[in-house]
Symmetry: C2
Subunit: 203 residues, 2 copies
């Protein structure tokens, strides 16, 4: 390393790139803007990450690897479905409240470029639904849950947890609510969502 020992240029670049890419998307982001935010020369972006595409992929992969493990709470843990759902919705909503741009970013870019989807499908140790589905069926047989397809339940859990963040501008308009009221509503959802689901599926 040269020059200042405490200045971590590569890290600064990634942080700025996260900020810009996640709010403006791949197409809307400008390399110059990322450089400005990092307070460095634009050439440094290419020195450390070669191209816009590669810098973007670094941001995307980091974002995805932050979101995906959280899913294991609901997929690979050993508690009951009810506990899993309570646990998951609460912790996932808390997590997203700290990173409100993440879900929109991931979904937008996945929609934009199907190649990303394929890559994720193949390479990663991608979260697997089988265990969850089996457990749902088992608890239905035991009479703990009302009949429901595991896939649909899983989609519902994700939808109720994530959608309010993806649709935040729309929801703020509907509810005519300030940023503060919106945040309170999201806080409430940490328990409201699991209550809502449990009421629906508990036998």
């Amino acid at each position: 390393m040269a020059k200042t020992k405490d200045s971590n240029t590569e890290g600064n670049i990634l942080a700025s790139a996260e900020n810009i890419f996640q709010s403006k998307g791949m197409d809307g982001a400008r390399m110059q803007e990322i450089a400005d935010k990092a307070g460095i020369n634009k050439a440094m972006l290419h020195y450390y990450y070669r191209s816009k595409q590669l810098l973007f992929e670094a941001v995307f992969n980091k974002a995805f690897s932050l979101l995906a493990p959280q899913l294991n709470v609901i997929l690979n843990d050993d508690s009951t479905i009810e506990d899993k759902i309570k646990n998951f919705t609460s912790s996932y909503i808390s997590f997203i409240m700290k990173h409100p741009y993440l879900p929109s970013f991931i979904l937008q870019e996945l929609n934009r470029n199907p190649k990303f989807a394929k890559k994720l499908q193949e390479n990663q140790n991608f979260p697997n639904l089988e265990k969850f589905k089996n457990q749902v069926n088992l608890e239905i047989e035991k009479g703990i849950l009302k009949p429901i397809k595991g896939e649909q339940l899983f989609i519902n859990v994700l939808a109720l947890s994530i959608f309010p963040f993806v649709a935040s501008p729309l929801i703020k308009i509907f509810l005519k609510s300030s940023e503060k009221e919106y945040k309170q509503l999201m806080k409430d959802r940490k328990t409201d969502v699991s209550d809502f689901i449990i009421k629906s599926i508990k036998a």
Copy 2:
């Protein structure tokens, strides 16, 4: 009009612009690509719509005015909450299946440009939640529904109806499903979603 009478250039432009903008977003769309898809010269786009921004707004406003009225099914109709929800989820999911890009497009652009949100909030006769909230409270008092906040119920209805389309690439990966299986799942949701909600809220 000049030249050919049957060639509706302005309409062709709008149709092509919808196609391109809705799949690539404002930032990812290219004027040349829209012109190519419409089979006309790029200058025509400016002749009829002046600028990319105005062409985009024409597309956005048309898309929004297609989606918004559907909400009146649940907001301004006079049936019971249960009927409203059954009616809405079924018809909304049917509608989105015919225009799968619309919700992502609207949400993405609303996230990108908060000014759009403000415009919608002010100008339009924007769907109003008050009636729905009052009705929910009334049915709770009457003992028809279990206690729930109208805002949260409304968000839940939207989330369960719309999210699976916004997150379609992700869901296809999770379920390891083909396009066909995915579509079947969405068809099932036309009744599954309302069943799920009704079970949760009915006293």
